[in-house]
Amino acid sequence: MVLEVKHLSKRYGALTAVEDVSFSLAQGEILGLLGPNGAGKSTTIHMLLGLITPSAGEVRVFGLRFCDYRKHILQLINFTSPYVSLPLRLTVMENLRVFARLYNVEHPQKRIDELLELFGVGALRNQPVARLSSGENTRVGLCKAMLNNPRLLLLDEPTASLDPEIAWQVKQVLLQAQREFGTTILCTSHNMLEVERLCNRIVFMHHGRVIAQGSPIEITRAILKEERSEPALEEVFLRVARLEESAP
């Protein structure tokens, strides 16, 4: 297993952000972490990266306990989110050079050039990050996330702010990485159609707990409690969100 999450919990005093979350991820799998806002998706990803210390539970990456092998594991994985940024005054190229050095990437200039072209942002290499649009920022963030050819890629809404054409291109790049290098991907998204097409398996979270996990069709059947022949994650999402609204 590339990733094993066992009984992971995070409590802030009386507030429980994540409770008893367990799932695993095999090599080359693409797993979608879904749920309404406040479901605990980002907290879970941040715990997987060691940015938040769990209150209970264990994270193992490549069979190693994260807390014992933090640096070794972080060298082999990477992360991006549209909600974090790179230093704003530095140019795209300067930022990627910094992170290439941080991850000790071999032939950094070649790798950076490849990625800039792959994500269609080659023309922006000398632009300060502060001048980029949100979609361009998302793509530069993806370049950063792919710099070290990660074996496990954690993506928080990887296609947020992208127009459908660019979002499609990004998906193709991720699928190519999965096919060619066996990259394992864990992503969150609010675009249910995209999740249905991209992910082999889904973990659906609500109020910090896993309420269902399986393939998109299994999730659809489990939450809608109906026999369906096609996945309908949008409906699943709305059902869960409306349950919350109608709750006393």
Binding site: H46, L86, L102
Partner: protein, 262 residues
């Protein structure tokens, strides 16, 4: 610790100097301005026959050394604030980088910045006010190192406070060293302070270093007791600051603050 990760932090902050006019202003503008003001003041003293050349040397030497100490403390905290302002902390600490490597990279860049600022100030002091720091430099270097070590301790402590209380207390990056100036005996000897404050002052590495500096400029004599006393105090303060920062950093991880900075 890996050298490539320290280099990455250095490259990041060297690029920042190149791209950010504020950093260049901090690096050379303020040290130059300070020395010009103090230089005119020493000319005024000399014309009035007050204190003579020795007092002028003490003031200009103190202005250069205080500038180094202040810049070192400020730039360490501001370097850290740069990551906070650009929301880059998550990128950095989701990479295989640890706080010690980050600090090492920042310290090396700060040494370069401080050397550039002090170099400019010394050049102006020499050309405009006939104060040549070079002959005394070998004996002043140990005191300078102590001042920068104390600047590092204060910078780490200030960064810890910013970590805990976020950008609400970012003003400390520029003001914390100033708080210690009155009791650091920068421009006057320890004996000038009221008796109750002397004990407090003598517990600061800055006081020991500036007293030592005056001995060097007055008699060309390096005082090992002052150096060792300042070093011992620095080891204590730096140890305390490092423990404080580590405690705050782990607490920020537990409380989820690392991902919530704005």
């Amino acid at each position: 610790m890996k050298i490539h990760r320290i280099q990455a932090v250095m490259i990041r902050h060297l690029y920042e100097i190149r791209r950010n006019a504020d950093r260049i202003t901090d690096m050379v503008y303020w040290p130059i301005l300070d020395i010009i003001v103090w230089g005119f003041f020493t000319i005024y003293l000399a014309h009035g026959g007050r204190g003579g050349n020795r007092l002028a040397d003490f003031l200009l030497g103190a202005a250069i050394l205080w500038g180094m100490f202040y810049a070192f403390q400020r730039d360490l905290a501001v370097g850290f604030l740069d990551e906070l302002w650009s929301r880059n902390l998550i990128n950095l600490f989701s990479a295989p980088l640890d706080v010690t490597e980050y600090l090492c990279g920042l310290v090396v860049v700060n040494l370069i910045k401080v050397a550039a600022g002090a170099g400019c100030a010394s050049l102006i002091a020499w050309t405009c006010y006939a104060f040549d720091i070079l002959p005394a430099l070998p004996q002043l270097v140990p005191y300078m190192l102590n001042l920068m070590l104390f600047g590092l301790a204060l910078g780490v402590f200030t960064s810890g406070l910013i970590f805990r209380y976020t950008t609400k207390v970012q003003g400390l990056a520029w003001s914390f060293a100033g708080l210690l100036q009155p009791v650091s005996c920068v421009f006057y000897p320890l004996s000038a302070l009221p008796r109750p404050l002397r004990l407090v002052a003598s517990l600061l590495p800055t006081t020991q270093s500036f007293e030592g500096m005056r001995q060097v400029l007055a008699a060309g004599a390096f005082s090992p007791p002052r150096f060792w006393c300042a070093l011992a105090l620095n080891v204590m303060y730096f140890g305390a600051a490092a423990m404080f920062f580590r405690w705050i950093f782990e607490s920020a991880r537990r409380r989820g603050l690392l991902v919530k900075f704005e």
